[in-house]
Symmetry: C2
Subunit: 253 residues, 2 copies
Amino acid sequence: MPRIPSAEEADFLRRYSIHDFDVPLTTVDLVIFTLRQERLQVLLVRRSDHPYKGEWALPGGFIDVRQDVDLEATARRKLQEKTGVVTPYLEQLQAFGGPQRDPRGWSVTLAYYALLSADSLQHTNTEGADDSDWLDLEGEGVPYELAFDHAQILRCAVQRLRSKVAYSSLLVHLVPVEFTLSELQRVHEQVLNRSIDKSAFRKRIRDGDFLEEVPGKMRHGSNRPAQLYRLRPELGTHYYPRLLGGREPNPVA
Amino acid sequence: MPRIPSAEEADFLRRYSIHDFDVPLTTVDLVIFTLRQERLQVLLVRRSDHPYKGEWALPGGFIDVRQDVDLEATARRKLQEKTGVVTPYLEQLQAFGGPQRDPRGWSVTLAYYALLSADSLQHTNTEGADDSDWLDLEGEGVPYELAFDHAQILRCAVQRLRSKVAYSSLLVHLVPVEFTLSELQRVHEQVLNRSIDKSAFRKRIRDGDFLEEVPGKMRHGSNRPAQLYRLRPELGTHYYPRLLGGREPNPVA
DNA sequence: TGAATAGTGTCTGTTAGACATTATGCA
DNA sequence: TGCATAATGTCTAACAGACACTATTCA
């Protein structure tokens, strides 16, 4: 429903130019998580241009005012350029802004975070590329200096991920489309860095009611086969009324 | 710790001008809540300039790249201009961006929401001013058209407030510095729009352990006097491990 | 048969909420 | 004394987690 401006407002708009003002620089940055070899990893790139040329940074870039229909579109576009993945879990993290964070001047970045399953990356070329790489998370960050305030953004994203995992079904997005409950539980234990009681975990999943069995499909190994599950279609993230292990954090495994 | 750019980067920065690029317009908007006459209210202003001149909008404005040290500083500055309040509860809500939301072009707004107690407003002049007013919330919004996408932002803020109230101590900021537990409970019931069991509410507050009695001070009426409480100093927002009324929503009072 | 993991069952302590009861001021 | 609200107590159903047990495959 396009709104019709008044003649007076139309005149105002005709004369308006954003270049008459001191405006902040605006970018979108991405914290892209995946889980490989049982480790939580984040995608970083080596900057190809000034400022911070050659240093590790979060992938990101400028809004394309000609093609992006909203902020999330910018984020999705950047994410697809870097990973090839088109339908990840993507959520706005937070905006960061200030005069110092970018040497070009007062800047704002809209930070997003994304969750990708390792198998969605199988056929993309981020593997060992010269200009980008998956790095293991250690604690709330990565043992390198990052450009701009990206270390702070990354820390913020890790905290958000950890806290949201404790009351939602988020982590199904770090796992292939079909998975066993034990696999999903291990992912939770990885990310939260503590062991979870199997019985409690499975009851919680059952109550959440956002998974369905893949009929007749099992994961086989040298043990009892495990039922494969998948996300129930057309369902958003499930939110639990209480935190996982809200009371007494189990001793770390 | 100011970083020293290389000579090459310094040269790049010297030539850099943001005016060489198509950049989005960036603003900060505020959803300012208070509670008066037992009603949740939001501060709206009549726009004094194009676009949307004369229509209701959320208070907000441009980042002042000369004085604002970060995004929150912009928000606090705007909030103080409108309400005179300097230390409210203030939290970033979400960023909204797109080519259509402002007729001047692709724009981004950093939305914040604030909670003010009615008594912190007592001596400010927002009361019945011609260009701004407190409006009762109805449902998730206000029964007026708002400029830009401000109706959507307001709805988002109300949802965030309601959901956060259910697992945190947020609402102490809508109440005077000294208050009774019954008053605090009524505020919760107002905002959540359902009745809460007194015993459960008080146990929850006690467990949270973020309030202290004001020694010897009571609220008197034609009934048993009530102990006054205040926020324990130096404490941030308390987060509960479970939702208030997570299971079965009580019948609405 | 043993190793390994899947999957289920039982028990217990904790807790939120329903509801009832007592407490204390004022008119 | 009665009214209004404060404040606390009791009971119960639900539930998370601890732990143990059974199930099922492969080697």
